[in-house]
Assembly symmetry: D2
Homo-oligomer: 382 residues x 4
């Protein structure tokens, strides 16, 4: 199932068309010469390679959490977790990316599933990663020996080249999503990977309520003088839901008092950042939580680069390019490059009548890549 890197011939077909040279025997001969020498002219490719604006190979698509979780649970019964396969992770495959496990051309998104008492073995890789928990609890991710709890709403960044393992300390299975830059590193060919220990120690099997990283780094605006970040990403290994929730509620309260503070009326948002630098939490991945209050709708935004969203809470309608879906908790969808996106918060079929809940959307994207390479563009329609 892995790609083969076999030699592939060049095939050029002379065609009549605007901007194409006249089809003559001389042109045919030239094209045979190109093929022979492994050459391809720009004039047959420019429309695809240099479009007026990004036309993504990916398409908007929605995956229902219910279906995803059911299949993951099924895998939990019959597919073991261990060295080699490494993780019971099942990835979104964008419908137009060749059947490959790529949510977008740069981003990987998967559901990971761990059975009661199971361990996922230790390894490290250059791919930058995170976990986000839409439901459940009971798993600890052990990062460099530091056990980090995972509970609904928690965001756990995992910068490249950190040793990490998981263990489920409870009697219930647990699912969460993994986000990585696997397709980007696959495209650029930057990947390194190492196996770690097959089993973590008893000391690492503890189940503290807060990781050491949180105790050192999760204090607002306060930098511990005795610690230095050792990897390019955030030294803070968990962004707990209580903080995120309160930050969003505070933004909306400030707005309600007439002082702005939100992205736009009824739309609060926070970005997960590296407390040591204020920059994005990972060198290649941006992660944010958005809250849209009941009845509000966000202005359509399009950006270079792609995003994956997961509905964390509430329900509503999301529009991506020419697609629109009613979404509810756990649903995942992708926004390809330069496709406009907006979200509207509204009561869903399964919400109780009395629900006052907002639509909470977790988002991750490849924006730091575009900013670092000076390729970022954004267009907002207000």
């Amino acid at each position: 199932m892995s790609a083969t890197h076999a030699p592939t011939p060049v095939r050029l077909t002379a065609v009549d068309g605007p901007d194409q040279p006249a089809v003559t025997p001389a042109l045919e001969a030239l094209y045979r010469g190109f093929e022979q020498e492994l050459l391809v002219p720009l004039w047959t490719e420019i429309g695809d390679l240099m479009p007026a604006h990004p036309r993504s190979r990916a398409v908007p698509h929605l995956w229902r959490w219910e279906a995803l979780r059911a299949l993951a649970a099924q895998a939990g019964e019959i597919v073991p977790v261990g060295r080699g396969g490494e993780r019971r992770a099942i990835a979104l495959a964008n419908p137009s990316l060749g059947g490959r496990p790529f949510a977008t051309p740069t981003l990987w998104a998967a559901i990971q599933y761990l059975m009661p008492g199971e361990d996922a073995p230790e390894h490290r890789h250059t791919q930058h990663a995170f976990r986000f928990v839409v439901e459940g609890e009971g798993v600890w991710t052990v990062v460099g020996g530091d056990p980090v709890p995972m509970r609904r709403g928690d965001f756990l960044p995992q910068a490249g080249w950190n040793w990490h393992a998981h263990h489920n300390a409870t009697a219930e299975p647990m699912a969460w999503i993994d986000g990585l830059d696997i397709p980007l590193q696959y495209a650029t060919e930057a990947q390194f990977f190492e196996f770690g220990r097959d089993a973590i120690s008893d000391a690492e099997r503890t189940t503290p309520d807060r990781s050491r990283s949180e105790r050192l780094w999760a204090h607002p605006g306060l930098r511990p003088l005795g610690s230095a970040p050792v990897t390019p990403g955030s030294p803070l290994l968990a962004y707990k839901w209580a903080f995120t929730d309160r930050a969003l509620a505070d933004q909306l309260a400030v707005e309600a008092e007439g002082y702005g503070g939100t992205v736009e009326p009824g739309h609060a948002a926070v970005r997960f950042t590296n407390p040591a630098t204020g920059a994005d939490v990972l060198p290649t991945i941006r992660a944010e939580m958005h809250r849209v209050v009941r009845g509000a709708e966000t202005a359509p935004v399009r950006e270079t680069g792609s995003s994956v969203y997961q509905v964390f809470d509430g329900s509503g309608t999301v529009t991506v390019g020419d697609r629109a879906w009613s979404v509810t908790r756990g649903d995942l969808f992708v926004v390809p490059s330069w496709q406009p996106f907006s979200a509207r918060s509204e009561a869903g079929a399964t919400d109780s009548d009395t629900s006052g809940g907002a639509l909470d959307l977790f988002r991750f994207s490849d924006a730091p890549v575009f900013e670092a390479l000076r390729l970022d563009r954004q267009e907002v329609t207000r």
Copy 2:
């Protein structure tokens, strides 16, 4: 010939193998469920996606300049240059990248050819580009209205979103190479493109010996106070051969006096940099000139990321991974990610006996991308 972005099904085949779950009816049913929901498990893909070190889809390959130039000249006779096709550029297609015009997974390299008196129309694009001239002269690239001459050894960077056109002011055809980050921007989907004027003005058709950009910016360590760079790349639009040559000769002279200054004995090198920042000349492309004195051999180096080399002068042997070639002026070859590269300077079959010439290698790579994303690694065997 352009890629189609059509929906593609997911196909999963359960196979017996180490690290794979047992092939059972339950597994088959699970895989059918994955296919149905557009999901792909990690455990069937991990070997391809997360290798122990980069295993490039590209392979080392050599293109002979003589063959390239002959085909380009043939194209000059039968393929017009004009709006739509935009450029008579013919790109290297790495043998294992699907017949696509990608020298490496991130880099485009093409020979461009302009007939006497011809113009290539004005356009701009987000793709970062450069020209490098291995032989000939007579073409001016007009960048934002500033005519920049092109002669053997000159390096002309072209940061994204600059308007540019070419005109051949002489009675001879001229060939040069274009380097761009087309595959990278294709992979990340960052591209914008705009047509400019169909013809440049008479004022721009002048043939000055130095562009205005050079007169403002090509003075060592001196920044003009009345000019500010307007694009993310270098404001200096030409790096003339006379400067590059002298810099390499000076390095070797300092080494000869016993004070080092070279990369290693007999190996001088300079990097083309943005004089306003000291950083790489383009946000996504590094460009360098290396000089290996007759008889010297460079230490094998492997790096994340890929390079394209063109022999500028001299002859010798280059080794890329398990391939080795005798090379001479104009020959182009690629070094895929993490493949070791070394070069040895030696008299070629076509050199005169009395030649004392060194092997001069022009190199460009995607290193700035790897550094910006903190994915750069290097290993030198000395």
Copy 3:
């Protein structure tokens, strides 16, 4: 009392001495010529201007909080606060800095005192400032219209050019310390100052428990997407004691479990940083809180640049160069450039026997200036 910028003659005296030219009539004539032309030779000055290491014009000195507060209270009775004088602030004058209100050559430290119901009028200035509260509460600082409460342990940065006023909303007087870079800006001559409104509005006279800045920015690692910092310093206008205290306690707990995390055994410390950048809270001032557990002693450190410390809690002995003092809550002392500093936590005369309290030291310094100019050096004796 202000400095006069009157012309001052040059006076040169020829003296016998090592490294000095022989005293001859010719030398005397030369020196008269220098004086006439407003010139001074290096050879008479080099020892003072270019010492082997910093020899500060400032000396270590201690100010007792009790005396300071008593004088401030006395000023509260007889010196009004209003436009012109601007603030009832009384500054530490280092004993060897000419009687000027400079705690060190770069830092200003003052006690500010506000009577019940009093306002200090609005103004802004380029000097970077902060407030730190060692005792009391009841004053709000209104920054750009945002009322920020001040209570024991709170740290309030005030980056240059922000409008700000104070109002005491209670029936008790309140004292706190102000830290500014007044001497630095006086030395470099960078100062601008503007009067604001004489009275703040009723809306600004509210007494919220948290400022808007805190509600937007005081969430660990979370950046609000709808707000952008407008001044070069931190957008977070208050660092509440509860967070600082918990961060220090957490560090010591991690250390107690055997995982380090402190600066050195028994010595926890946090730096107040700008959450938007991770850098120092102000461009010219570093601020930190240190906790030394009972019985512990910090390793002597000397650094280029100067610091002012205030004892926040506990008692102990501090050593600065060849001076040592027993200190207790509120006491302030200065550490001049390159003078070694260490602190030992121990029960004070006024502590109860059962006190388990650590020595908490608030520190501010000019370190960001030295780092920005690449002049920072540090030496630790362990």
Copy 4:
């Protein structure tokens, strides 16, 4: 002659005045209490310390080169150069800075003079320095073992902590100016100093036309791959006049063709920058060369921070605040903080009638300090 760091009492005088508290016995008692405790209130000092805009302690002043050189030559006859005094350097003392050798509150400017065959011994210091040559030649500055020639128009930066010595290899005396940040480092107390060898080696006594640093780094936009800068300032140790002159002439030629490129009509300027970073040549000192064509006048500019100018060529009138002088080659003058400056190029009394020469002004300032600390402001009157 060196400053004494003796204890100085605080002296406070209660005075009647606007914004001052009423003079009463209670106020007198309070002030005696302040004096006793080494305290100074803000309200007596605010006008001096926090002015509406910078009011420099320094004043505009002009030193005539002729007088300076004559005194330096006189010193050459009677004051030896050697270990201890270190340099035969004679510094400008601003008339209102207390007779101290400070051209401005942050900048040192001196004439240095070396007799035929003389050496100035090796040392290093944290003070950042440069040499600029207005006339003569024959001295080499040996920096880290690299002999760097000095000739009219050359600018030689000397970042802090580089070993350096001078030797005069000719039969003529030579004079040049030294610029350093001595007053800034004196104010901030950052200074370190070390003696080096008393004599440089024979190998270092060579008199190459180009230093090794120039051979490695003085190629426009080209970075040597085998060298890494080791100090915070520029690795290029000489900016030769030929390059500076050509850069200025090129700017004016581009302007003459109608394409701008100058600062303003008839006013070309270049900044000396670190080729490895594009930033200022030294962390604390900016250096520039300005050319004003005959008959042109620059727009008045005022900036935070101070500058020293030396007339390199031509003659004209310079205006600093409310002072104006006719100036000619070699004359030095200072522009204090926030004083407007402009220059007009015109034939001087000593110019020949046929002179077509422009006014060339060398300038150095403390601007990098202000930019690093976010304290820079500028106002141009056009």
